[in-house]
Amino acid sequence: MSTALDGYNIGYLDEQTKRMIRRALLKAVAIPGFQVPFASREVPMPRGWGTGGVQVTASIIGQEDVLKVIDQGADDTTNAVSIRSFFAAVTGVRTTTRTDEATIIQTRHRIPETPLAAGQTIVYQVPGPEPLRFLEPRETETRRLHALADYGLMYVKLYEDIAKYGHIATTYDYPVMVAGRYLMSPSPIPSFDNPKMHRSPALQLFGAGREKRIYAVPPFTDVESLGFEDHPFEPQRFDQPCAVCGSTGVYLDEVITDDKGGSMFVCSDTDHCERAAAALTHSGAVSVEEVTA
């Protein structure tokens, strides 16, 4: 393995920094859902563009790893392309778009449709690690609320949603309780993806670079989305299948097709969509190229 960038260490970060991050990761795995402060470094992309995820990935990636990077479920969104090419340049590891081939998946805003397997690690890019932040802006205060497991504020917020709209009006970054102890932000994935976190066989790591926090959900850990007995958690549902591959029960992007209100729904997960569509083409269904041209 060699690095293409002169003057930079393999994986960009220096070894001391990687060790510091690995220590934070070990602590995070030992206390599921707890936000571990870490001395977040600058990385060569702007804050808020996945610098936490990049640092976590840079600290755990090894020669044998196969990396997949997605943004909004897609491998070909510009930021996913940029981060993937960054790691290709600074580590020289193999990259892939196939969920089942990857050993590390760095993601922004989605969990792949293909169920994750034991041995895989998913690294989430996290903009705001503190689920209580918009209810209490002070770190000194939210830290105490976590210490006391005092999550009344969040339940009141959800209750107010129901009183106002008839539903819980949080559709992404939907708060979860991890291992019955810590309230955690799942990062801004749609609540559709929340159930995939529950007892996932994969290791789930979360990096918030700008906010300097790392947290984790070890494999097979309980991750419960908050709800009430009479208003249980309800993830999104879509009424129609993907217009390209025909999948149902997957998260869909709405693609505007004209200026008269026309739109179609297609898979957010491009890897899933391509493979499902490829399976379909034998039966003469529409191809990805025809639809996306």
Binding site: A39, R108, F238, T292
Partner: protein, 383 residues
Amino acid sequence: MYVAVKGGERAIANAHALLAKRGRGDSRLPRIELAAVAGQLGVLVSRVMTEGSLYDPELTARAILQAQGDALEAITLVRSYRTTLPRFGYTLPVDTAGLPPQRRISATFKDLPGGQQLGATFDYTHRLFTHRGTSGTTPRTPRVEPEAHGAGPEMPEMPRVTDLLAASALIEPDHASGAGDPEPGDLTREPTIFPMSRAERLQALARADEGFLLGLAYSTQRGYGGTHPFAGEIRVGEVEVEFEAPELGFAVPLGRVELTECQMINQFTGSADTPAQFTRGYGLAFGRSERKAMSMSMVDRALRAGEFGERIVAPAQDEEFVISHSDNVQAAGFVEHLKLPHYVDFQAELGLVRRLHGEFRSRVEEKPESVLTDPTDLAGARA
């Protein structure tokens, strides 16, 4: 359209090529030399070094050119490089009282030991455009009074103003008596935990965005946490940096850095038990960064409100607010990340709003008279 939204590698490569072309400008004109940037845009270089937390005029000049003059982009470049450098220790405290100042002014004393020296400053210039073309000619050589110039034994002693006042116990001393220098923290190597020590806070302020600090400092002058500042002393000069390697046992000079230091003298405190004393705010920045150093010293003082038992009522006095939002690399990145696609989350919100609309419509159809709100309120009501 589907393809256009999902950018792809070719789009990125083309965008970068276009960026490089725009940055090159008119190809018939020569490229700007690094040395020209370091020499002729010295104030900009100072700012990028200060907020990039790295003293290296040449590398900074390279960053400014690569960033096509975007200061924040250049700061990000410098920081992303700096963070990969190993840290092997910290230097001895620099002796700013001993620095031969290129500039030294005090707004609190008309005359003081060592005298005042105006130096290279925009103050008292008329902000008029100089004749076109004259910027290229050799500037007039300043006349130097022999006694006010040069280092060495002839140079007059210039003790810091705050030391003069401290000598007569009218101003708070550098440290509480008996306390040595505390081990300095390093916020680039340790997680930020609130509340911070003053030393860590000063580090954060030193790399904080100049504009943000300027606005906050200004707000304290307009009643949002007033501290009645006087510019006790501002100095600009080169100072020697020394490092004491443990295996040597003595200090080794590493080089010289240019600094701007501001000692702000602020409103006094006192009580029945302690005599009244002026308080202080401190600012320090690389190069010629006077506005930054002054703003920093005012915000530093405002943030010491708790220490002096003052009521915390204004943004500039609120440590979490100031420190969490003062770093322009973080702020610019997060504001600009809104350019990244958010269609998964937007889709989730869209689905909910549609559902709420549908439910609203069916309520209206069932009982038209019971619904008083305008349906457009629903979309706008979500906080």
